[in-house]
Symmetry: C2
Subunit: 351 residues, 2 copies
């Protein structure tokens, strides 16, 4: 089969790691007889530098006509000190999410037995953890209007808004994930304080009845922030709104200690975007030391979204093998570190 | 000296643990020749049961005329399943915060060497952690208007609002704490997305210049949620807005593994409230097994707020001694557990 893949390397280590994922997908293409047409486009700080816009129209058009988007990372230290600057890389990200309708960010958190020692948590607490955080990505306080400043500049405000359909859509997806997994769903909100959370809970309590095979649990966000650390194993699928999801999914990502391995998918109305959860890691740029595995596993999620299940499996098996052999970059093997391209080549070869 | 202490035991284990703190303060009174006049009032679910209101006017009036408020816990399982119920214990808490002007919640997080093994984090990560989380408590999305539902019930909204003075007031307090400690302040916001966070950052960047002796660091909330787990030792004073503070202060409270030991102060315009950070722990109610130390250490913070520094020190020394001797309740000493009253008596005696 033939697939068009919008390829957006972005900033920092983005280009280096995306190249390894492209290599892995090309191997998959050869083995399984598919043709992946990788079309490159600009995004992030590098797009601002070139065309003055972090998510240019040409990039958007390419994404709209593609079967999927492979994304690296965005962000450049030169934008870090002034969050109110007029044009910033993050705005490109938010615009992309909105225009592509990327309503759900999916982050599987799994442990790799040989790497549990890397976790800041005790091994007995983290070992065997295996859950998915599903974050609503196009609603809530990220996009609600009105937002801004009073005329005198002394009062600032943001609006958190959710519509019933938005909540239903993301919960439906969460129930699908739970049905394919251990049939347990944790709905995280702050329904004891927020009006939007009460809508979430109302919708969830209705949908719970239609999904009687799934055990639905409700948890306040402050409690979830604690339980993620205390009992990560108890979670199967966690679903929450945009801002809580931003915080909890990042919190969840450090408990395994191997952030460089975690992929993500942002499921969209028009197309879906696959990217590692780590950032653009500017200090490592160009040094050929960045860990490409999270991006390669994101490519595996991309293949699954195209219903190429065996193909995704081939990538995962190759990744498991380099991990077992400790054929890894310096973040995970400081004694005998391999380079980004060495790890990428090895995975491509194993496929 | 003479002090009037509004004493609000509340729900669940509240009465049992508050009684131990009262005992400790009475010992302090004898030793240092002060008179503490403990006046009791209702709050929470028990107040709803008695007078239909979780924060009755009589309770409010008592707090207003007191030098400080000693608070237990609120919350009862019978209110847990319906967050949209008309009268709920939490509403009493929010009303109390608003009416007493409790604008700052202060939560010191410290480790006790002999109890580090209790932490879900590895000992080398948690040991020596010593920081304070300061949460703005009367603004933001907890109280902003408008909030609620559209007429058709299909759109829900909340408003996050901050005024410049509110941000200045809490940052001023945070700088005072930092000045008395290791002179490092982490201001947590989401200035890359939120208008209110940009106001926070603008105010902080101005105040930073007036506090040149303090090192001010800015951190996005998602990053803070990660770093709290990865490098808790790096923090000294962390300050943030209400909702982020709710999440991060609870996250911070579990990293030491001894939640039963952590006190808090809510500093107010009219008076201040001192309470343990743990909840009403309904399962333990009436069993004489709850750990009273967090409440007793809250009493120490109360004494400090009245400028009774030596008196507070006497409480802390007694607490340290029972911890060293492992004269502790079952949460911290399962082999040879003491009861709530035994620990309370021992601390009172040591004072
Ligand atoms: C960069 C920022 C706007 C973004 C977000 O808050 O969504 C990031 O933290 C993420 O989680 O992808
Ligand atoms: C009970 C709830 C309203 C409250 C809050 O969110 O502030 C609690 O979680 C707390 O932190 O004191």
């Amino acid at each position: 089969m033939q697939f068009k893949i919008a390829t957006l390397p972005g900033d920092g280590i983005g280009p280096e790691i995306v190249e390894q994922a492209v290599k892995a997908m090309k191997s998959v293409g050869e083995v399984f007889n598919h043709e992946f047409d990788f079309q490159y486009a600009e995004v992030g700080a590098s797009a601002i530098d070139k065309v003055g816009e972090p998510y240019p129209e040409a990039t958007h058009n390419l994404c709209m006509e593609s079967d999927a988007v492979l994304f690296g990372a965005i962000g450049d230290p030169k934008y870090d000190n002034d969050p109110s600057a007029k044009v910033r890389p993050e705005q490109g990200l938010l615009k992309m999410r909105k225009l592509l309708g990327l309503y759900a960010n999916i982050r599987p958190v799994v442990t790799f037995p040989s790497l549990n020692y890397k976790s800041p948590l005790k091994e007995e607490i983290v070992e065997g953890s295996d859950f998915v955080v599903i974050r609503e990505l196009t609603g809530g306080i990220y996009f609600g209007e009105p937002r801004g400043r009073s005329e005198d500049g002394n009062t600032a405000f943001d609006t958190c808004v959710y519509k019933r359909e938005e909540v239903e859509r993301i919960l439906e997806l969460a129930y699908e994930y739970a049905a394919k997994r251990r049939k347990h769903l944790t709905v995280v909100d702050k329904a004891n304080v927020l009006g939007t959370s009460r809508l979430w809970r109302e919708v969830a309590q209705k949908m719970e009845k239609e999904h009687a095979d799934i055990q639905t649990e409700y948890m306040f966000v402050d409690n979830a922030a604690m339980q993620l650390i205390q009992w990560p194993k108890k979670f199967d699928v966690m679903v929450t709104e945009n801002m809580f999801g931003d915080i909890l999914s990042d919190e969840a990502s450090v408990i395994t200690g191997s952030m460089g391995l975690l992929p993500s998918a942002s499921v969209g109305v028009h197309t879906s975007v696959f990217e590692p959860i780590h950032g653009s890691y500017p200090q490592a740029t160009g040094k050929n030391i960045a860990n490409p595995i999270a991006t390669i596993l994101s490519a595996a999620m991309l293949l699954e979204s195209l219903d190429l299940m065996k193909e995704a499996e081939a990538i995962r098996n190759a990744v498991n093998q380099v991990i077992e052999e400790s054929y890894l970059t310096e973040d995970l093997n400081s004694d005998n570190a391999k380079s980004t391209t060495e790890v990428g080549d090895k995975i491509a070869e194993l496929i």
